[in-house]
Structures are given as structure tokens and as C-alpha cells.
Amino acid sequence: FTLTAQFKSFICLVKLPFLLCDYLYAYILTLQSCFLRHARSRNYVSESDVCKLESVPLDFGDYHPLKPITVTESKTKKMSRKGSTSSTSSSSSSSMMDPLSSVLDGTDPLSLFAAAADPVITTATMDNTRKKRDKDDSSAVGSDFEPWSSKRGEILARYTTTEKLSINLYMGSEKGKATATGSAVSEKVRTRLEELDDLEEGSQKELLNLTQQDYMNRIEELNQSLKDAWSSDQKVKALKIVIQCSKLLSDTTVIQFYPSKFVLITDILDTFGKLVYERILSMCMDNRVSLSDNFSPENVNDTAKETCLNWFFKIASIRELIPRFYVEAAILKCNKFLSKTGISECLPRLTSMIRGIGDPLVAVFARAYLCRVGMEVAPQLKESLNKNFFDFLLTFKQIHGDTVQNQLIVQCVEIPLYLTLYSPAIDWILQCIAYRAPEVLLTEMMERCKKLGNNALLLNSVMSAFRAEFIAARSMDFICMIKECDESGFPKHLLFRSLGLNLALADPPENDRLQILNEAWKVITKLKNPQDYINCAEVWVEYTCRHFKKREVNTVLADIIKHMTPDRAFEDAYPQLQSIIQKVITYIYDFSLLFSVEKFLPFLDMFQKENVRVEVCKCIMESFIKHQQESTKDPVILNALLHICKTMHDSVNALTLEDEKRMLAALINGFIKMVSFGRDFEQQLSFYVEARSMFCNLEPVLVQLIHSVNQLAMETRKVMKGNHSRKTAAFVRACVAFCFITIPSLSSIFTRLNLYLHSGQVALANQCLSQADAFFKAAVSLVPEVPKMISIDGKMRPSDAFLLEFLCNFFSTLLVVPDHPEQGVLFLVRGLLNVIQDYTWEDNSDDKVRIYTNVLHLLSAMTQETYIYHVDKVDSNDTLYGGDSKFLAEINKLCETVIAQILDHLKTLGKEETLKRQSQLALYLFNTILAHGDLRNNKLNQLSVNLWNLAQKHGFADTKTMVKTLEYIRRRSKQPEMSHFADLALRLPLQSRT
């Protein structure tokens, strides 16, 4: 492809704004030559030797502008580049912490405002700040502790209801109405307070028949009014709101929603706890110096202590147990202000206080909250965590007591469902306990759970909370325990699912592995409900893929197909099935192995909803592109992947988004590029033909195919070392024909033009002259169709720049295209010039003239004895005509016509507003003549002087450029045979700027 490389440099040169500096200038000159009757004849080889850029050895060392900056160098090392120290050090610090992300970290004032205005966004920012806070706090317990924030979303999504909910708020009855007067309270806040009037004291409000969403909105409103009340200095009202909210947690109607309710309300409690803590902390500010993080109570001043005490006294007098517990737990951290041992005394007391909560579900969630606060505030106090769990075990029997059972009957809730409601809380408690806990403790906990009857619920929580390694090592024990569990209690499939999740993370002992799979699958395969089944299977597929070979994976897939096919059960399980595919391809990424899993393709057939099917196909293709290292010709892979690609392709319709199309095309292209039949070029071509028929709706794929076929042709040429045999010649022609008939089906005009040109070049390189002619003719006849505006990335832009670029490129190619014996001299060049002449250019554009000037470059190059470049084994016009005078005369005639056109245009630019353009064009032409013309000719010499003057006439010329140009001419004059330049220089006056 040296040829193409040359073309490319040629384009650059033509496009370069001339006269950057004489250095570049000289370089430009090496490649172009004289024109007109008195064209300067040149020896390209010697010129290029003289003017070639001096190659400078680059020191790649350790510096590269695109490399990420690291501060390895410092004072000790002597700097080779001055001034880079400061920049490296400053930017290195910023590379550690992205300034953008730190700005967006929830403290952005805009989002804060928005949050105040919009409850929807409030949740988002709240989440942000909460996440941030959780992050900060959990730093005390280490990042390996899964924070609450990651649980809450899951809980909210899982525990939902369609039943109607109610909120009952009774805002105390203390005398005196808190009024928010004073100039400090803004008008906005005041109006909002008026809106919230119904939250004022003494009012009772019962909201009935709320949907789940309404309920969540209401809670969010309460959260907001809590903050409002706080910021408008109504601390008592804030406390009342919090008490009312926590009271909602004693209500267990619509029990299946309880875990979500817990999440929502504890959010409010967290907000409250934080507000109180920060308020008291701010009171401790002494001379604007705030307390350090681990302050001791002696450093807290009396006012702050008194305020803190007041809060505790106030909370201690709350009548009801549940609000009293929650509110006190919420401000547990404030004990730090009063005494060092405060928290460690408080936690056990609060723990035993929960014993008074009769409803076991309410109690266990209260315990979860206490553990959550405890872990946040004092993670070192493990004792009360354990105490909480043991207390829970003591009350475990209550779950099966009459009170609970009666309640379930009233609410029509089945026992298995009811038991799952406990999971989030028990999981959390056990997670807190298990965090960095010694093995002994975990074993003890497990033993305690074992002792209780009907312990499936506990077993499940143990499995979700304890370390995966711990569970994996005892997998067989767990399987036995699960089997022994009561059928009517906690759902068994959930137990197996939890176990599977652990086994996906940690490896069980080598010897047990197969037995584990067999035992587990024996149970899983018996599950009747497809949803239960698939939830389990999804998890266990990972274990299977991780530890076993093709055969087992195949068996599992077959079993899943068997379960999911009846009644089209797969329709409700697409997410799980999708995740199964994901897991399989994560572990088996050798595609020949993957497709030899017999049930893999039948498994894919279950994805019958088109968008899911396409998603899955995309996943597979992504994995293929990521993992396939070598190109392949394996028929199994090809067939399967062609099928998959076809599926993706067929999903494209009129409504498909551009992005989606682009993505699909990229995936298919990635596949096409990976297909190689080695030396079997015919097979390769027929693959491309097949691909073309399959993917005809995706243009980028067709483009890729054309490129691939062109590449194939060039490959062939390389193999044959440029000498085609009869057979390869025919093959190459077939390739060319492929391109020729494919290109017209593309819609983008520039793609077509460039592909015509490119394929023409390939045809030329393979000595298919008439085919090359056909490409070029097609390109010429396509040019008039170029619209003035084209759409790029959805925006309409003028096309002239693209057209200019293409035409320059085209002309460069035409230099080496030999004339057709039956057509006239320079048939293609003339044809193209005619098209340019007739093309409707933008009224006030000089593009046409610029092209004409560039054509002069071409024409001057054509007059040379030997052209600057050739296509191997193709005779260009220099050899064909051998410098025949008739040929040269033809060229000269063309030159004259073109120059006449240019001068005409220059004349029309004589108006005031176009003088600048006139100056630029004149200088451009001047430079062309300087570079390519033989200035010993008087007429030409005079023309150039005239152009020089015209360029300067109206003072639009850039003095610097002019001075540089003149300098260049003077320097050139010192070279041999260039003495006439000295005279020329004398005739070129420099206009001083006045």
C-alpha cells in the first residue's frame, strides 16, 4: 500500500495552507513541478534528497504528552525539560482527584436548589449525600463492609404492594404555636410552611387509600418538612415529625410492605440524627475552630452539653415505646458529647428495650436499625450486636405463635411470604456480626441457629450474611440442613439460591464439588413454579460453569430448556435467562467450545421477544470480539455467529435509532474482520458475498465488506508479487466487480465517492485498467449529485470542504491513470473539469478557483518526463506518450483555459467587500506559479509580478507572509539554475504598511 500512502501525502500537501514557513515550503516544492510552455523541469529524486526533512532521532524516554502524568521526577533528578516541574506536580495532584466529580459530589449548589424545589430530585440528591455519608462512615469499618445504602434499593424494589396504605399523623398537643417570624426566614420558606399548615400542632391527619407511590411521596414530603422545620428553627416541630414517622413503624397493616416502609422511615431518622449531631457540633465551635473528629467530652462546652442533655430528656419522655426507641437510636451518636462511655452504655440498654416490642417483625427491624446505627457509630462494640441476635433467637418462637398467625389470616398472607419479610433485617444483623468476626463465633452462631426448630429463615440469612468462604467450605452440611427443613416454612428455592450465590463467590472443597451440584440440582429440578426454578437455576449456572466442563453445562442448559418451554414460561423470565447466557459466556469464551455445547443454540431459541433476543446476540458478539484473539474459519463458529449477526441485522427497521444501528454494525464488522480462510481467497470472497446478502440493510457493514474485498484483492497481489496469473487476475476482477456493484447501494454520497476512488486505486494496482476507468468514470459522473449541504451527526453542514478534499485526492490519482486508447487525451481530467465547471458552487465561494489552481499542480506534474510516482506494472502517460509534443500541447491548452478561468474570477472579485479574497487567491496562484512554473519565461514572469502586486494592492496581504516569501525567493536564487529568481525578487516590491 505504498501507493495509497503516497496519495495521502499528496492530499495533505495540496490542502496545506501555503507559506507556513519556508521550511515547509521547500518540502512542498519537492513534490510538484513546472507547468506552461515554459514549465520548469525537475529531477524529483535529487530534489527530494536535498529537501527531505532531516530525520531527528526522537527521544521517547519517559515523556509522552499523552501519557498520564506521574510524579516520579522530583528535586533529586535533574530536569531535562525546564518548567515542567510545576506543571507536572500540579496536574498530578489533580489527576488523583477529578475536580469535576468532586464538584458534583452532592454539594453542587444548583442541585441543592433543585432539591428544595423538586421532591423527585430530592430523593436523588438525598441518595447522593447518603451514599457519601455512608461511605465516610463505613470507612471506620472498612470498605469490605457492604453498606446499608447498597441494600436499601434492593429492599425497596423487592417488597412492594398493590394494597392501599394509610398514614396517621397526630401532631402532639402542646400549648403555644410555633411561629416562624423574623426577617431571616425567606418568603419562600414561609409560603411552604403555610402549605404545611396541616402539620401544625394539635392537628390530626389520616390519609387513607394511598397507593404505594403516594405513600412514598408522602414520606418524602415529611422528610422535607422535617428539614424545613429544622432550618426555620422549629426544633420541637421537627422532633414531632420524627416521632410521628417512627410511630408508623409500629403499624403492621399491609405487612408485605413493611421492609420498604422501614427503609423509607429510617431515612428520615438518619436525616434527623445527622441534623441534631451537626447542630450540637456547631455549638462546640470555639473561636471558629471546630472539634476534631475524635474529640473527648471534656472539650465540649457547657451550652452544647446542656442542649444535648435536653434532647435526651425530651426523648426519654416520649410516651410510646417504638418512637422512643427509634428516636433515641437515631441520635445515639450524640452521646459522644456527654461521656466517653455513653454509647457503650446506651447500646445494651436499647438492645434490651427492644424486648418490649411485641410484634416479632417490628422487633427484628428495630434490631436491624440499632445494629446499623451501632456499626456506624461504634463498630468496635460487637457485644450488643451479638446480644441483639441472641435476643432475636429467644423470641423466634413467637413467629409461630397465635398472635402472629391470627394477623396473617386477617391479612391473607401466607407463611412463606411472611417469613421472607424477615430476611432483610436478619441478613443485616448477621452481616454486622459476621464482619471480620472470628471463625469460632460464626460456628457458634450457626450451631445456635441449628438448634431452633424450623430454622430455614435463619439458615438463609446465615448464608447471605456470612463470608462466602465459610459457607462454601461447609456446603455439604448446608445442603443436608436445607433438605431437612420444613416444606411449609421458608421457601426452599430461596435457600438453594442463597447457597448458590455463595458458591459463585467461593470454591467448595474439590472433592465435594460434583456431589454438591448433583444434590442441589436434584432439588432445583423438582421445583414446579417456573419463576422459583429459574431464580435458582440462574444462580447455579454460574457454579456449574465455574467448576465443570462442557458436559455438565450442557446438561444444565438442557434442564432449563425443559423447564422453561412448557406454557412458554420463558416469556416471564427473560432477565434471568439473559443473565444465564451472560454467565455462560463469561466462563466459556472459547467460541468453538461454546458452540459445541449442543444446547447453547436451542437455549438461544427461547429468546423469542425480539429486543431481548437482540440484546443477547449483542452480548455474545461483544464477548466474541473481546475474547477471540485469532481469526477463524471454523464452520461451526461461522454458522452460529452468522445466524446471530443475522438476527441482529434483521431487527433493524425504520424505527431503529441511529446509535443502535451503529452499534450493531460495529459488532457485525468486528465479526467480519475476524473471519479468515487463510490462503483460500475464493472461499473468503464467497463468504463476503454471503455476508453482503445477509447484512444489506446496514451500510457500515457494506462499507466494511467493500474494504475487506479490496484488501483481499491487494492480498492476492501481494501473494503473486504483483504478477497475476490468469486465475488470480480473474479472481481479482471478481473482487473488483463485487465492489463495483456494491457501491451504488450505499446512500451516503461521500462514502460512495471515496469508495469509488479507493476501489479504482485498487483496480489500478491490480492492472485492471478498464475496471479502474469504470470506477473513475462513475466517480466523475457522481460529482454533480453532491448536495450543497450534507448531514453530519444530525446537523446540516456545507459539503464544500469534503468535496474539495475529495477532488484533490482524485486529481492526485489521475496523474498515474493512463489514458484510454479509444478516448481522447486526458479524458478523465477533462471530464472532471467539465463537471467542476458545471457544478453549482456556492455564490460567494472560491472553491472552484482553488480547485483550478490545484489542477495546475496536476498539469505541471503531467508534463514531466518521469512522473513523481507510479503504480507498479502500470504504464502511466509519461511512458505512453514519452513526452510527445502533441500531448504537451494539449496540456498547455488546458492550462491556458484554466488560468484564464482563474484570472476571470479574480477580476470579479474587484469589489470592496471581496478584496481580501482576491488578495488571497492572487497570492495562492502566485505561489503555484513560483513553485511549478518556469519563470525564465517573460510572460509568466510578468504574470507573477502582476499577481504579487494584486495581492498587496489593497493592503490585505499579511506582511509577514510576504516578507517570508521574498526571503525564500532570494534564497532559492542562490541555487544552481535559479539565478533568475534574483531578478524576480528585485521586481517584487514589498508594500510597507502605513
Binding site: 402542646e174 403555644g176 410555633a178 411561629t179 417570624t181 423574623g182 426577617s183 431571616a184 428553627d233 426544633k235 420541637v236 421537627a238 422532633l239 409500629s250 447542630r279 462546652n301 457547657d302 451550652t303 452539653k305 446542656e306 442542649t307 442533655l309 435536653n310 434532647w311 435526651f312 430528656f313 425530651k314 426519654a316 419522655s317 410516651r319 410510646e320 415505646l321 417504638i322 422512643r324 440498654r349 434490651s352 428495650m353 424486648r355 418490649g356 416490642i357 411485641g358 410484634d359 416479632p360 417490628v362 435476643d391 429467644l394 423470641t395 418462637k397 413467637q398 405463635g401 397465635d402 398472635t403
Partner: protein, 325 residues
């Protein structure tokens, strides 16, 4: 230039939300009067020196006829309508008993400069004769209150300014060691008094103990309670703190028991056999060490109230003796 804080705050007696309810002040024509007591919790004992500053803020110079500060402490007794008739209760409230009263002239008539002026003061807390500084107590029929009042007398054209401020007296620690007096209790249908149809009662057995009925006022009341069994589900278990106030008067005396607070310790049908903690913090201001004088008495009791789902109410009463150590 100082500015008068233009906010009105709600004062919640004793335990205001956050205890930030101080400040404010009498504002008139831009002149504000405020009393700041040195101790943040405003708690003093007999024999100590009550100190602080009177703060006067004003934009202009203040012309006045003298500023005085009065410290007062008194017991207010109210007869309940139950023991004497409504009218008598209204008119015949017993004359307040003065415990302490002293006035000092802080500033002679004259002018105060503009801006903020702070005038420090000190009152030694001593009583005359055989009087005792009782602990501050806010009750229904008995109120023991101590106040500081600052008066700025002004010319006829301007109103006099007054600012009052309560401070709190804690009685001195009682000598000797407190002997704990634990109480065990068992409640069954058989132990109940004034039951009409004992047969219709559901069976239950509630056991428990209080760690001590002699309580230090700053320490919580503690104990444990176990519902061993109960036929009817439990609805709620509460601790009811009761004040018993006795006022002596010419016709005899009146004794009234009223609720101070009610703290729920169990909600719902609690687990059988599991000890539930009894825990109650004594509220400040509304409780004081058990007090017995010639004119009045303040005593406290606690009731353990068990409410069953069939609306049976079971109450067990324990007299308490509060003291300050």
C-alpha cells in the same frame, strides 16, 4: 451597634426542644434588657453564689431612673377544685410562701452609653432563719420557683423595662448512703383488689422486680418484668409516674395524685418468659426529692399498668422515695 434579636421563641418548660430557648429579652424602642446566668444549665445549690450579667443593648444612649435586680424564691400552693369547691379554689389559693428575697440596686439613675453594656452581679444563696431552699419543682398544686427579675425604671415618657429569668435550685446532697430497697412483685388475678368478677378474668402471671424504690433523682428507675403467661394477648405495658401533692390549709389538707408522665415499656403481645426492662428517667423540674414540710408535701409513686387486649387494665402501685445524692 448592637441589634435586638427580633425573634420570639417558644419556651417549653424545662426541656425545650434543644434547650436553646434562652435569649430574647424585653425590647422597646430598640433597647433590650437581658439576664445571662453564668452556668449554662442555670443550676445552683444553697450556699453557692449565683452570678451572671445583665446585658443592655441599645442603639442610642439610654436614659434611666435606676436599674435594680431582684432575686425571689417562693412556694405557690393551689387548692384543687376537688377538695374545696370551684370558687374557693379560685379565690382561696393559699398565700405563697416566700423562701428567699433580695434586691440590689445595680446602677444609679443616669445614662448608659449606646451599644452593649454588661453589668455583672452576684447573689450569695443564703437563707435566713430556719428556712430551707427547696428544690425547684413544677407541679399542679405545688410550685417551687426561683426567679431573677431585672427592672429598669425610666422617665414618664418611656415604659419601664422588665426582664425575668428563672434559675434552678437543686437541694444539697443528702448525707449518708442510700440503702437500696428492691421490691419483687407478682401479679396474678388473685393478687388484684377491687375486682368485681374475678371469674371472668383471663389467667395471667406477671413477675418482676424494681431494683430499688429509694431512687436517686438523677438515676433512672430500673427493674425487670416478665410476662410468664397470659391467656389474653398483651396490648401494652406502661410505667406511670405519679406525683402526690398534699397542701395543708386552715380547714385541713388536700391530697391529690396526678400523672406526670406515662412511659410505655412494652407494645403488643410480648414474648412470654422474656424479661423486659423497666427503665424510666425522672423528668427534670417535674420531679424533686421527696419533700415533707409543715405546709405541704410532695411525694411520688409509680404504677405498672398492664393493658390486655380484651381491655382489662391491671395496675400495680409502688411508692417511691426520691433523693438527691
Amino acid at each position: 451597634m448592637g441589634r435586638a434579636p427580633p425573634r420570639r421563641r417558644k419556651q417549653v418548660a424545662g426541656a425545650g426542644g434543644g434547650g436553646e430557648g434562652r435569649g430574647g429579652g424585653a425590647a422597646a424602642m430598640g433597647t433590650a434588657l437581658d439576664i445571662k446566668i453564668k452556668r449554662a444549665n442555670k443550676v445552683y445549690r444553697c450556699g453557692e453564689i449565683l452570678s451572671g450579667v445583665v446585658v443592655i443593648t441599645s442603639k442610642d444612649t439610654v436614659q434611666h431612673q435606676g436599674i435594680s435586680l431582684t432575686m425571689e424564691g417562693s412556694v405557690n400552693l393551689q387548692l384543687s377544685a376537688k377538695s374545696v369547691g370551684v370558687f374557693e379554689a379560685f379565690y382561696n389559693s393559699v398565700k405563697p410562701i416566700q423562701i428567699i428575697n433580695s434586691t440590689i440596686e445595680m446602677v444609679k439613675p443616669g445614662k448608659l452609653p449606646s451599644g452593649k453594656t454588661e453589668i455583672p452581679f452576684e447573689f450569695p444563696l443564703h437563707v435566713k432563719g430556719n428556712k430551707v431552699l427547696y428544690e425547684t419543682y413544677h407541679g399542679v398544686f405545688v410550685n417551687i420557683q426561683y426567679t431573677l427579675r431585672c427592672d429598669m425604671r425610666r422617665s414618664l415618657l418611656a415604659k419601664d423595662l422588665t426582664k425575668t429569668c428563672e434559675f434552678i435550685i437543686h437541694s444539697l446532697s443528702q448525707k449518708g448512703k442510700l440503702t437500696p430497697s428492691p421490691v419483687d412483685f407478682t401479679i396474678t388475678p388473685e393478687t388484684l383488689q377491687n375486682v368485681k368478677e374475678r371469674a371472668s378474668l383471663p389467667k395471667f402471671l406477671i413477675r418482676g422486680h424494681l431494683n430499688s424504690t429509694n431512687c436517686i433523682i438523677t438515676q433512672p428507675l430500673t427493674g425487670e418484668l416478665v410476662v410468664e403467661n397470659a391467656e389474653a394477648p398483651v396490648k401494652s405495658i406502661e410505667l406511670q409516674l405519679v406525683r402526690v401533692e398534699t397542701c395543708g390549709c386552715a380547714e385541713g389538707y388536700a391530697r391529690d395524685a396526678t400523672e406526670i408522665q406515662n412511659i410505655q415499656i412494652a407494645d403488643g403481645d410480648v414474648c412470654r418468659g422474656l424479661p423486659i426492662p423497666i427503665y424510666m428517667v425522672f423528668p427534670r423540674l417535674f420531679t424533686c426529692p421527696t419533700l415533707e414540710t409543715t405546709n405541704f408535701k410532695v411525694e411520688f409513686e409509680v404504677n405498672i399498668v398492664v393493658l390486655l387486649h380484651d381491655d382489662h387494665l391491671i395496675t400495680e402501685n409502688f411508692p417511691l422515695k426520691l433523693c438527691r445524692m
